[in-house]
């Protein structure tokens, strides 16, 4: 690894480390009650303990179970949304009539905060994984639909002409021009959607989970005034979110839009 490749990681790590130090300091001087604002060291200690096999009184590897449950709901919901919504968005981008009819609906759902629909979904489907999944799908679908449609429309018409004049059929144009041409938008949409899905899964778990899930755990720990466990959950949410956002998507972008030189990210 040369200097250029590890530097961003170094900055990411250092910035989080410094934030942790700051937190520790605030907790140490006890501006706020220690129970309400535990030091980061105690939070991490609790996190390690919960991640381990446990003392035999409760389920073993409890934190891993919570994480597993959350990631399962997140990824299943997200991939389902990605598949269905990309297709809907592409169709909207290709067909003007479909676009005109669907756009108002999509826009409306885009601006409804995800959490507002949770009570209704619980009423319809009860508590449990199914409800969590549905909320995740709903939360992540609309940004993907929206950006996919906008992406198709952003493709210059002459690019389609260039393909047509080479003899490309409609399907060939879809695969060789429309989809790759929409890629920068699709990536931005999926990035936005994964962030939304992550928020949705935690919110949904708080209200609709019955045994596992990080959101459930945070809310459940409140009953016992176990702030260290609550913060441990929050730390896990942050770390996984950071991983999804900066590692997973950075990689996908690196092998697509950055390589093509069509990335929208600029250092102004």
């Amino acid at each position: 690894m040369d200097k250029k490749t590890y530097k961003p990681y170094l900055i990411t790590f250092s910035s989080i480390f410094l934030f942790g130090l700051f937190w520790e300091f605030i907790a140490y001087v006890e501006v706020v009650d220690r129970v309400l604002f535990p030091p980061i060291s105690a939070i991490l200690e609790r996190l390690v303990e919960m991640t381990g096999p446990g003392d035999g009184t409760g389920p073993s590897y409890l934190m891993l179970r919570h994480i597993g449950s959350t990631l399962f709901a997140l990824l299943c919901g997200f991939f389902l949304a990605a598949l269905v919504s990309s297709s809907i968005g592409l169709v909207m981008g290709i067909n003007a009539t479909v676009y005109q009819w669907l756009r108002p609906i999509i826009t409306m759902f885009m601006v409804i905060p995800n959490i507002a629909t949770v009570p209704v979904i619980i009423l319809w489907f009860g508590l449990g994984m199914k409800t969590v999944l549905i909320i995740v799908v709903m939360g992540s679908s609309f940004p993907i639909i929206y950006t996919a449609a906008a992406g198709v429309q952003s493709i210059p018409i002459k690019m389609i002409w260039a393909a047509q004049t080479a003899g490309a059929s409609r399907w060939q144009i879809l695969w060789t021009v429309v989809i790759p041409g929409t890629m920068p938008y699709l990536l931005a949409g999926h990035k936005l959607a994964l962030g939304r899905a992550w928020r949705a899964v935690i919110a949904a778990e708080i209200f609709a989970s019955t045994a596992y899930g990080i959101g459930f755990m945070i809310f459940d720990a409140r009953t016992f005034f176990d702030t260290e466990a609550m913060f441990a959950g929050i730390v896990v949410v942050g770390l996984i979110g950071l991983f999804l956002e900066s590692v997973l998507f950075k990689y996908v972008e690196k092998i697509t839009v950055v390589r093509w030189g069509t990335s929208t990210a600029k250092d102004i």
Binding site: M159, W161, A162, A163, T165, A166, G167, R259, W260, T262
Partner: protein, 263 residues
């Protein structure tokens, strides 16, 4: 005199209005007629915004004519197809594909075997002078380099008709002259019917069998000058200078007209 070649492209009294019947209607072409013989090299010259690109797009089958008749091999042009290759004024390469992939696009579309594709790419990359850039993405190329890739892409699948919209516009004088010589060479070998839009009178006289001068918008063809000179032509030849003078004067008239219209 050699026997007359059959007509390849025939435009009869064509008109083109963009966005007809709306407030944004633009009458680009009004009553344009032109017959291009098979194997002929025709240049289109005219003031900016007169409708040269528009005419090319109609021959390409991308834009529909508003009225008149436009045929290719005796059949009305209804849409684009691989019997025509086009070089756009703005290059329009596929940014997600490398130089080689862009060039062989048409060959992939028609399922040409890999070996033939590679041979064709190698040949064309050499022609456009971009050896060593095969695996580079267009965003890393200069405007002139992109333009050359776009020329290669249009020629790769061997269309009957080449439509070129200011293909040398972004090239430096040296590269342009080399490409011009190469294009004359290719034309003499392949005899592809070519429509070549340019702003350079010198280019037009150097390369074409006939030069069509467009009038200002809404345009028609104002005059057609047959360049009766053998290749290779020399810019210092007295006849060359004469053709050039005549076309420059005609172009200046039209530019004058256009400016007056705006006032």
């Amino acid at each position: 005199m050699e026997p007359a070649k059959p007509t390849k492209i025939s435009a009869q009294n064509i008109c083109k209005t963009y966005n007809p019947g709306t407030a944004g209607a633009v009458e680009a072409i009004n009553g344009l007629s032109l017959d291009v013989a098979d194997g002929e090299f025709v240049s289109l010259l005219g003031p900016s915004g007169c409708g040269k690109s528009t005419f090319l797009y109609m021959v390409g089958g991308f834009e529909k004519i508003t009225s008149g008749s436009l045929t290719l091999d005796g059949e009305q042009i209804t849409g684009p197809g691989p019997n025509r290759g086009i070089v756009f004024q703005e290059y329009v390469l596929f940014p997600w594909q490398t130089v080689a992939r862009n060039i062989e696009y048409g060959l992939r579309i028609n399922n040409t075997p890999k070996q033939q594709r590679e041979a064709k790419v190698a040949e064309l990359v050499k022609l456009i002078g971009l050896e060593g850039f095969e695996d580079v993405f267009p965003s890393k190329l200069s405007g002139g380099m992109q333009q050359r890739v776009s020329i290669a892409r249009a020629m790769a699948y061997d269309p009957d008709v080449l439509l070129m919209d200011e293909p040398f516009g972004a090239l430096d004088a040296q590269t342009r002259n080399r490409m011009l010589v190469d294009l004359i060479d290719i034309h003499q070998k392949t005899h592809k019917t070519t429509m070549f839009v340019t702003h350079s009178v010198e280019e037009a006289v150097m390369i074409s069998d006939r030069v069509c001068m467009f009038s200002s918008r809404p345009s028609k063809i104002k005059e057609i000058v047959t360049i009766d000179m053998e290749h290779p032509r020399s810019v210092t030849d007295a006849r060359f200078v004469e053709y050039q003078k005549r076309l420059l004067a005609s172009l200046a008239d039209e530019e004058h007209e256009r400016v007056q219209q705006h006032q």
